[in-house]
Symmetry: C2
């Protein structure tokens, strides 16, 4: 199996985490976001990362890729089998992707990627909106959904957990921290998810990429 993308992308991280949790072998191929070469568009029709290959079969969209991996490799399930939990898991994934992701990506892009990698000025207003509006609203909602212990659907980590923590990791690279007094269940859940061996392994690699960007070693060509 091949995963196309960069390891510090929230949606690429989702797929890598799913593969690591399931203990599956894969190859990661570095492709920057918004790559529109004919070769990559043949694999990912909208140029999105992550894209995924399994032999001759290619597909993109992290949610679709992970469901495919789950169907092909059902051991260590990541998606609940109960129909209502299954739907709630997809809803949490959808919410994380469409609400949490834009807030976290704004903070990460403006304060890590733009000044260091692209040598561009930070849009302070965009950061302020994310920190003061988007992220608090998302965390308020998720605090009401988060479990006291374990993970969203019991004692085992799953796709909902992966999906929620993945964009937050990018905000944390940008020095954002979840206020433990305001969102105690979410703060504890994110810690538990990041402590999982699959995430610990991925984050060790990602920190090298982040350090390369912050040190100025990695810049846009």
């Amino acid at each position: 199996m091949k995963v196309y993308g960069v390891n510090i992308s929230p949606n690429v991280r989702k797929v890598l985490a799913a593969l690591e949790i399931k203990g599956l072998e894969y190859e990661q191929i570095s492709v920057l976001p918004a790559t529109k070469t004919p070769e990559f568009l043949a694999i990912s029709p909208r140029g999105f990362i992550p894209a995924f290959g399994d032999g001759d079969f290619h597909i993109s969209d992290s949610s679709i890729i992970i469901e495919y991996i789950e169907v092909m490799h059902p051991d260590t399930p990541l998606i609940p089998s109960n129909p209502q939990d299954r739907a709630k898991s997809r809803w949490l994934e959808e919410y994380a992707g469409s609400v949490l992701f834009p807030g976290c990506a704004a903070v990460f892009e403006e304060t890590v990627i733009k000044p260091n990698f692209f040598k561009q000025k930070t849009d302070d207003a965009r950061v302020a909106t994310a920190l003061n509006e988007t992220l608090p609203a998302a965390l308020d909602y998720l605090e009401g959904q988060a479990p006291e212990n374990g993970f969203f659907f019991g004692n085992n980590i799953g796709l909902a957990d992966i999906s929620v923590v993945s964009p937050i990791i990018n905000a944390e690279f940008a020095k954002f921290r979840i206020d433990e007094a305001r969102w105690p269940k979410m703060a504890a859940l994110v810690k538990r998810i990041k402590a999982h061996p699959a995430f610990a392994k991925l984050l060790k690699e990602e920190e090298k990429t982040i350090m390369g960007i912050i040190s100025g070693e990695l810049v846009a060509s």
Copy 2:
């Protein structure tokens, strides 16, 4: 089962079509887009339509709702069981929702809803972008995916077909027509899907809503 929304919304239509094709009983409850009352937000946390209820269980997002219906009522399957076709079906649904939908919605909102229902001026530039750029690009891509005969995944209508035709129906309410010379497979596929008894039944009801809007009988309160 209850479906909350208006029947001329592309994503509500997806859910109604899935229920009709499966021959399931349901109740449709009229809720306008972007309804943010506390009662509705308890059912649909982002205020989106369609929302869906099955007893005490509520969920929103048309894709998630239809997967739930499919799991609970597997007869007359709408999602392929083969893992690769399953992933491709979700990709077509995702593509329809994120590329085709915005183009079709722009044409429909600007030329049907805004002037008639909201008594607002049409944004001609938005319509031109949709007609000259968004929709041709989407139809070019889909023409390469569409089957010569039958439906996307064989002889039976499925979720990919429902998802692709549903936004196009709104563009057609706004007098858009797929150019048969340029996109022959898509033009023929849309005709076959609309001729399915489930769509024929839904469209008969929808035409009453559209006529109410165009005649000026239905206006924003």
